[in-house]
């Protein structure tokens, strides 16, 4: 039954192609641009007619299908999410036989829910997969290989998307996910008013040229103290999480992974140690930040004007603007470090995947491809101010228009080009090894050299096992 449905759909697609090429020919034959549009419209109508005429000949009606997507993008998060949730239901304009059902699952419980679903053999058709677990789920054999689907949909080819996204969704030449959410990295957000007050040039052209020393120097100028006690942090030092740690490696032109991702390379040229040492010095010797705490709402301190520079994700631009409309801010990448050539950061995207046991793979694939298509990505930009992993996205007029409205978005492509790898292989496990050691170093419980060495050993063991598992 499934087979016949596929062939039916393929036949329809073929018809569509014929009609489409007819339209192109007609368009070429036409003279003015307006005419072309009209011709295309007309052909589209004809095309529709063809379809409606042809369908009854082949089968009386397509079976209605409900595809289920599991996602943490619930409309209850906020108005932009509600708008997007409404929008994706227009997919049924393209595939009228498809009803989209979204299973909303809180972000922190996605894996739990997915695990229970796989165990019961009751999985969604589309799985909104974070970069944090896509590769793990593929290695565990629960995701469908997409190479065949990609062949039938040229728009989803490798060349459509940022090269940095490839490792997150391809393992040993096999594709298992399509990027659609974000193209994000770590940035340093800075308070423009504080900069002007301290006589620093807040222009991106200037801050993007900074190096670590200049960051430290500027932070000292920005810090306000009452005696020894910091009352306003020039640069807020956090407990460095992995995404942040990686960004501080890439700005030294160092790498997190050795080629092949079976080992880490983060301490070549002492890159990891330099990163930790810089932060320890900033915290303990230069006193530019209040002490670090376990789970600091650091974004909030920045919003309250209690920190002049603070790290955050690129995704937070729009949220920051709506939370505190009066706050003047901009962002830079991580300033270039010793051995580095320019400001850099980590770059990543979240994905859509097809679970192996999904019931309606063809329609689910069409939906995935539709969401990752240029048109919907632009719609996402307009509704939510979110960028895209597509290369052609940044060439569009809509992007240029939006960056005029939201100036902080403008430098995003510059910051994210040459984005380094997000630590995507066995992220949870690696993170669990990384975090206690990093904490130990930051609070002076562990000596930096020994700590970094322990980190290397621990993470290499996990990566080695992962490589072994994949043969």
């Amino acid at each position: 039954m499934n087979e016949s449905k596929v062939s039916r759909r393929k036949a329809l697609k073929a018809l569509g192609l014929v009609a489409g090429s007819g339209a192109v020919v007609a368009a070429l034959a036409g003279c003015g641009e307006t005419q072309v549009v009209e011709v295309v419209k007309e052909v589209a109508v004809v095309q529709e007619k063809i379809v409606t005429v042809t369908v009854p000949e082949q089968t009386p009606q397509r079976d209605n299908v409900t595809i289920v997507m599991q996602s943490w993008w619930a409309p209850t998060i906020g108005l932009p999410f509600q708008a997007w949730d409404e929008h994706i239901r227009t997919f049924s304009n393209t595939s009228p036989w498809v009803t989209l059902e979204v299973e909303y699952v809180p972000w922190g419980d996605m894996i739990k829910k997915y695990l229970a679903g796989v165990a019961a053999g009751d999985v969604p058709d589309v799985f909104h997969s974070s970069i944090a677990f896509a590769r793990d789920l593929w290695d565990q054999g629960t995701l469908e290989e997409l190479s065949e689907f990609i062949k039938t949909t040229p728009d989803m080819a490798e060349s459509t998307f940022m090269p940095a996204t490839t490792p997150y969704r391809n393992s040993q030449g096999k594709w298992f996910a399509i990027p659609w959410e974000g193209f994000d990295g770590r940035a340093l957000y800075y308070n423009v008013a504080h900069f002007e007050e301290a006589g620093l040039d807040p222009a991106f052209e200037s801050t993007s040229q900074w190096d670590w020393d200049m960051l430290l120097e500027a932070s000292q100028q920005l810090t306000q103290r009452d005696g020894d006690k910091v009352t306003r942090s020039g640069f807020l030092i956090i407990r460095p999480h992995m995404e942040y740690f990686c960004s501080w490696l890439y700005c030294q032109d160092a790498e997190f992974y050795a080629p092949g991702e079976t080992k880490v390379a983060f301490n070549q040229n002492d890159a990891a140690m330099k990163m930790v040492d810089w932060h320890l010095a900033a915290l303990n010797d230069h006193n530019i930040s209040i002490p670090i705490v376990a789970e600091r709402p650091d974004v909030n301190l920045f919003q309250q004007g209690q920190a002049s520079i603070a790290q955050n994700g690129h995704w937070a631009i729009s949220k920051m603007r709506t939370d505190v409309p009066g706050l003047k801010f901009d962002l830079m990448g991580i300033p270039k470090g010793p051995g580095g050539s320019k400001m850099r950061t980590v770059a990543f995207t979240n994905l859509h995947a097809l679970p192996t046991k999904a019931r309606h793979k063809d329609d689910a694939w069409d939906f995935i491809a539709w969401q990752a298509g240029l048109e919907q990505q632009i719609k996402k930009l307009q509704l939510m101010d979110f960028p895209s992993p597509r290369l052609d996205f940044y060439e569009t007029n809509e992007w240029k228009i939006q960056t005029q409205r939201v100036p902080q978005l403008k430098n995003l492509p510059t910051m994210l080009e040459d984005g380094g790898a997000w630590p995507y292989v066995r992220f949870s496990e690696v993170n669990n090894t990384y975090t206690p050691i990093m904490e130990g170093m930051m609070i002076g419980q562990r000596e930096v050299g020994a700590g970094v060495a322990d980190m290397e050993t621990g993470i290499n063991e996990i990566l080695g096992k992962a490589a072994e598992m994949m043969g």
Binding site: V68, W72, W73, A74, P75, T76, I77, G78, L79, P80, F81, Q82, E103, Y104, V105, P106, W107, G108, D109, K112, K113, L115, A116, A119, A120, D122, S130, N300, Q303, Q304, G305, G313, W315, A316, K319, T322, D323, V324, P325, G326
Partner: protein, 298 residues
Amino acid sequence: MRIAGVSSRAEAGQLVKERHSTAWWVGNISKMTVVYTILIVTALVFLYPYFWMVGNAFKTNEGFYTDPYRLIPEQFSLDAMRAALGIGRVHIYLKNSTIFAVVGVAGQLLVDALAAFAFARLSFRGRDVLFVLVLATLMLPYSVVLIPSYLIVYWFGLANTYVGVMLPGFAGAFGIFLLRQFFLNIPSELEDAARIDGATTFRIFWQIIVPLAKPALLTLGLFIFIFQWSSYVWPLIVLKDWDKYPLTVGIALFRSTTWTYWPNILAATTLGTLPLIALFLLVQRYIIGGITLSGLKG
């Protein structure tokens, strides 16, 4: 539930206390001062987070993010409340949570009380082994039993149903244990007298034990209500349709990795806490007072 009987007994207990208190009260003003000082200071410590939650529920988004520590909003706003009840759909979740909690209380109180009575007052072969088995269900961390439990519910065809969420909660080791301890406290004289009068075991349970244990039953009812109300992981795993989600899961959907409007969450949480406070105020009156054993033991 025959609350009237309880209240009259509670009042009787109260009367006994009042009679003694008159002399006691006059002579102990200094003691009262100490008691109230401790109570008020502790109360402020306990209330602070609650004031904070309610205060922030009435702030604008900007008001919250620029000064979250402030208890009284600079600019009073209903935005968060409106968002919670609008796009937040809190009213739907409140309805579901109420269903889960009310049915849960009714079902579990009955099942637990019957079992607790058996474990406290009846003797049968394997009783102690069964009781240990009951207690053992509390001892294994939920992470390793969650999916097996879900698979059982799934195989019964109860996935994504209210019944699937509620049925396993109809028996609780916590409640059985609690009630057993209280039933053990009830002197056996009344029961013996009833037996001599030829009462069946069920009548003894229903007409003697249950009325005497009402403080415990009400306490347990309150706890089951709270437990069901704050239950999160289980309904999350069993349900798929967000129209069936309880408040806890609904509020969790306010958060994403990158975006969280805290005032909305705090408004929704405030709305979700009010019914519990009302319920507690209602129930706690009946938990006080003592058992008056009319005609027994001097």
